[in-house]
Amino acid sequence: MDYVIEMNKITKTFGDFKAVDDVTLKVERGEIHALLGENGAGKSTLMSVLFGLYTPEAGEIIIDKKKVKINNPNDANDLGIGMVHQHFKLVHNFTVLESIVLGMEDTKNGFLKMDEARKKVEKLSDRYKLKIDPDAQISDITVGMQQRVEILKMLYRDNDILIFDEPTAVLTQQEIEELMKIMRELTEEGKSIVFITHKLNEIKEAADRCTVLRKGKYIGTVDVKTTSKEQMSEMMVGRKVSFIIEKSDAKNLSPVLEVKNMTITNKFTKKNVVKNVSFNVKKGEILCIAGIDGNGQSELVQGITGLMAINSGHIFLNGKDITKKSIRHKCIEGIAHIPEDRQRYGLVLDYSLKENAVLQTYYQPCFQKNGIIKFDAVRDYAKKLISQYDIRSSQDEDSIVRGMSGGNQQKLIVAREIDRNPEIVIAVQPTRGLDVGAIEYIHHQLLSQREDGKAVLLVSFDLDEVMNVSDRILVMFEGEIVGDLNPKNTTVQELGLFMSGSKRSESYEIKSKA
């Protein structure tokens, strides 16, 4: 076999915790090799070892049939290894061109040869149809575009082994399809790709072979064509996972949350990003807001929760006007919020798991007395969340959240929000970056909220999730609600038409023009 990467019996521990335990990964030249595993299985860690961010305690790495030692990302780069990280970070006030060249400036002569760099970037962008504008500011482009910049960065460095750590978690459906196309083109040229994702559909579509990890251990490598999705997920979780959600009919009770004529103007562009939006969410209902990313869903949610100021309109919770109330007040009144950007809003990354578990409740009598935090109570509470919601980390309640796997960070937020027993859960992409087992679990949590007569407002870009979980779908397009659909009487195709703005429900036709 012609392997470009052979990672043999790799072990990497953090303290006493084995994040990667005797794992072997062999990637053939020119293949897309999927890496599958639950949240915290050690996928990112294994790839960080390959990229030189961690040195393993045991095992050997063979690149192009030569045994190598990779001590840092520069070594990795010299071996032609490039990586797009799970939570990649570009410098915001740089241009695209600058961030691509960053760290690769021609230091031999001491002068920057920007013109040559520009030519090379433009050529690469054309060749792979990345549609990148070298002069755009990073802060002005979408996450999907930023990711392409990361890809271009690897191509610019002439990397032949490309690692994609959950690239699709932040992308829209269309962007995902484009990414897959790019990946295939790259492999056709002989580049080899390691592709981490939790979405089995994507593995089926793009990958040649798939290696499965579970709790840091190697489970096996399979040929994707001859293995079913069910088989793969069983390898990964160790049990059968059901992809179908069964639920009773919605009960159609009184509204919990009412939004009336909400308008939000972007501070900088002065454009209305949410335009006169009205809707309500009823008790025992999961209302889903569907739409392509960037059509005002994020702002709508931030307007409701109070993270963003609204320009006009009213918000009622159980009939009470809470428009002008503080975030704390809304929180106490029963709004739970699983935010879109978990690392920015949902967590204080440098706090431990237990400190994050009480982020909105630390001041309540059960966690403090006379202003002094009862750390024992906080610890016990965190332990409860950990066991109940299966949050995995190396130091349990004392883990610093920054060191936790992406999926487990998300689980922590979901656990904390649902456990507060709120009136309504506002969840933005709650299952992003989660493994199928965890997704199943979270969907069940949302459903049980609904069974308890609580309301759920779900914003999702994942159409399967939208169709599966919701009782009712509102479609947002350019800041307006253009459709009110029943998932039972609609298809993904029709939903797509609404999302792209080529179709509107009748009742929303007139209103939007007014």
Binding site: F14, T55, I327, R328, Y345, Q368, G371, I373
Partner: protein
């Protein structure tokens, strides 16, 4: 098993902090030695020994002097370090210190209707309040108008300095010496026998007050809901907003407390009864800036700040002894400054050690 791992991590963090502080100090001392060699090679080694020996050269009296010198910079160090936990850079410690010093001296001179120990206590409280006021303003500006605290507190430093000069001249001026009048005896902080123990006229219970403040601030930061909020704001503005924490209130409170700590430092120094008077000069109080170094050297940790303050005081006393070896007083200043400067690099060393140890695999958890 688990608790063992936890212990390792904590030890490691403390260990790294300590090691980097030691490295910073070592490089500072080395730099000092080079300067000594340049200015007078023959006496350099004995001079260097004097610096390293610091307060220990003069037995108990020397130690007393170290404690006396450490008191104000522990306070300003605490002030800077505390604000830093909230994500604020309190460069205005100097102005707050001066305001506190003036308020203490003013009460000490004028409020003679206060008798017994109530006098010095009230004077110190006045120092806290004046310092707090000087922190309040940049705090409000930051919280309400988003004016960067560095800019506003630098301005407050100068306003404080000139304002105090003006107030001294118009209220408590000793025209002959161009300085403040002496405070009344009851306003001087008691020595509680410490002067006898150390055989030094300078020392008083001020150092105990400073230590008490270290303990209080440590408790506040690590054990209270207030500290939890402050740190959350410091680590992540967005997440603390999401959590419903009132960031504006915390920014203001944090600056007020930082100001009060600096102000108290000023009071403790000028009520020490050590023959120090407020001078009418256009110089910013250096204790405020030394506080920044102390906070950096102590990694913003109250306990670390206590030891960093003691160390810098130790070196300062050693610097005074340097005069015995025919070094120009300016050389002494340069060396102390060099060490303090390197102290400021402690954080840098921390990062370097961190990266190094990460590579060496002795390391587990994130920062």
């Amino acid at each position: 098993m688990k608790s063992k791992a936890k212990l390792n991590i904590t030890n490691l963090n403390w260990g790294v902090s300590f090691l980097s502080a030691v490295m910073a100090i070592a490089i500072g001392l080395l730099f000092g030695l080079v300067i000594l060699l340049i200015s007078n090679a023959s006496e350099a080694l004995s001079g260097f020994a004097a610096i390293v020996q610091g307060g220990f050269a003069d037995g108990a009296k020397g130690i007393g002097d170290v404690l006396y010198n450490a008191t104000p910079i522990i306070m300003t160090g605490l002030s800077v370090g505390f604000a830093f936990k909230t994500g604020l850079f309190n460069i205005g410690s100097s102005g707050q210190f001066t305001m506190g010093a003036f308020a203490a001296v003013y009460v000490g001179i004028k409020w003679t209707f206060l008798s017994g120990s109530s006098h010095w206590i009230v004077a110190l409280l006045a120092a806290c309040i004046a310092g707090a006021l000087w922190g309040l303003l940049p705090g409000i500006l930051k919280a309400v108008a988003n004016v960067h605290e560095v800019i506003s507190s630098i301005m407050m430093n100068y306003i404080g300095m000139y304002f105090v000069n003006m107030l001294i001249v118009s209220n408590i001026h000793d025209k002959i010496k161009n300085q403040s009048l002496p405070v009344s005896k009851t306003a001087i902080i008691p020595k509680a026998g410490l002067d006898k123990v150390f055989g030094s006229q300078n020392i008083n219970i001020g150092i105990l007050i400073a230590v008490l403040m270290v303990v209080i601030i440590y408790f506040l930061i690590n054990k209270t809901t207030f500290g939890y909020e402050l740190k959350a704001c410091g680590y992540s503005k967005d997440a603390s907003k999401y959590a419903g924490i009132n960031a504006k209130r915390n920014i203001i409170l944090s600056m007020v407390i930082a100001g009060a700590l600096s102000g108290l430092g000023g009071g403790l120094l000028y009520l020490a009864g050590s023959g120090k008077y407020l001078q009418v000069v256009d110089i910013l109080a250096p204790q405020g800036f030394n506080g920044i170094s102390v906070a950096l050297l102590g990694m913003s940790n109250p306990i670390g700040i206590l030891f960093a303050g003691l160390f810098i005081a130790h070196i300062t006393v050693g610097g005074v002894n340097l005069q015995l070896y025919s070094f120009a007083p300016e050389v002494i200043d340069i060396i102390i400054a060099a060490i303090i400067y390197c102290g400021a690099f402690a954080l840098l060393f921390k990062n370097i050690i961190f990266k190094f140890s990460k590579r060496k695999e002795k390391e587990g958890e994130g920062i």
